[in-house]
Amino acid sequence: MELWYFILEVVLKNLVVISILMLFVAYLTLAERKFLGYLQVRLGPNRVGTWGLLQPIADGIKSFVKEDIIPNNADKPVYVIAPMISFVAALSMFAVIPFGQSVTLFGREIKLVIADVDIGILYIFAMGTLGEYGIVLGGWSSGNKYAILGALRAAAQMISYEVALGLIVIGTIILSGSLRLTEIVEAQRNVWFIVYQPFAFLLYIVAALAEINRTPFDMPASESELACGFNIEYSSMKFALFMIAEYAHLVTVAALTTTLFLGGWLGPVLPGPVWFILKTCGMIFIFIWIRGTYPRMRYDHIMKFGWKFLFPAALANVVITAFIVALR
């Protein structure tokens, strides 16, 4: 019986988290277009519903009913699987992020995280690298030169920034002494890690933006030179899957930043999940703000920046943090 309760609990938690995440993703597209509009002194979407509130639904219906095109010289199985890889990886990343302390419901103690695993943060990185395959394979299998260029850029960018990203996070791992995300949050009960690691926080935002291929690092999809890059040949639901994966990844990165540096669900008065969502929304707003502020970087500048500044800076951060913790 216990096993069945456990399975029921896991399935319910999954359903709740995925529905909330999907809702977030849907309205994130609207919020991004709206905020970008205001940042660029225009109105943004305002035709479907008041304040454009029905726009995500209209977009969803549109991508369902559009014709699904597979190019003639595409590698068909890979072409079909690629968006799925992106989508699955982006959704499964969220499984280890804690969004609240445990609550007691019907006499059972329920942790507000889908899987509280010992190596949570490594799991997120592992899933992140798998998600990148969707982009690389999607670009390659389209059989289009712009798409292949986008895929190559995505692969090179990922290899370069993944290293720095892993190193930056090590600072917080040293401070909390654990890879488990719930313990990392607990370690911030008195002081958030952004106070101890302000430099790492900034580096993390930069590396994370590169990891999720957003402006100013959106080389794989740069519209002005590659005409949308890796997803140029995709249409209909496959294109929508790529888009959903991209925004789900963005939400996950914002949630992870909250967990690592902003104290996760911790906060006074309000319940944990509310704090968690508020902080995540704040991070997402910063990401949109960055997109509205900075122009796209040149490709060789991105590579130089990644290897010659970000990587040494992350390494220095690890060494200094370890030194101070060892002295303490």
Binding site: L3, D75, V78, V117, D118, I119, L122, Y123, F125, A126, T129, L130, E132, Y133, V136, L137, W140, G143, I148, A151, L152, A155, A156, M158, I159, E162, S178, L179
Partner: protein, 178 residues
């Protein structure tokens, strides 16, 4: 269904996936498809590590092998082999008799080893130094870390020096062309 039975079924499925995908990896003509099947193999291997309660090793497997190394391999294949579809000319001509003999010999050695292993090594019920419960109590990453930086410190450092030599070598080769 109890947990052991569930784990056994999972193991059988993943083991089958590993075998099938590695055979497919070896037989594909398109190098990118080979690389993809190799990723599937690595991923299924990670699940087997998970079933053995080695979470850290499992995730390291996905991150390092299925993630970083395979991404590099894919990148190189895509760079070198931009137009897919004309790789068939090389496959037939390069299979000389000597290569066939060598492959057959390797296969025979592998089969003999398998047979030997199956016949002479029996599974014992002896519990090793790191049973699943003890590892789970101490924390998986902590156990691996303590072993790497304690008992196996010397091999670990030697391996890192080897990697450093590799990096220096790569830099030297890259600089020579300029």
């Amino acid at each position: 269904m109890d947990a052991i039975g569930f784990k056994f079924i999972l193991f059988m499925i993943t083991a089958l996936v590993v075998i099938v995908s590695s055979v497919l990896m070896a037989t594909r003509k398109n190098p990118i498809h080979s690389a993809l099947w190799m990723i599937v193999t690595f991923f299924a291997m990670a699940i087997i590590y998970l079933l053995l309660n080695a979470q850290f090793i499992a995730v390291a497997q996905v991150m390092v092998y299925a993630g970083a190394i395979m991404m590099l391999i894919l990148f190189v294949i895509m760079m070198v082999n931009m137009d897919k579809g004309n790789e068939e000319e090389t496959t037939k001509a390069s299979w000389s008799l000597g290569k066939k003999m060598a492959a057959a010999l390797l296969m025979v050695i592998l089969l003999v080893e398998l047979l030997f292993g199956a016949l002479f090594y029996r599974m014992t019920a002896r519990v090793g130094d790191y049973p699943a419960d003890a590892v789970a109590a101490a924390g998986n990453a902590k156990t691996v870390g303590a072993l790497l930086y304690g008992q196996y410190l010397f091999p670990f450092e030697v391996a890192s020096i080897l990697l450093l030599i590799g990096i220096v070598g790569a830099v030297v080769i890259a600089k020579r062309n300029k």
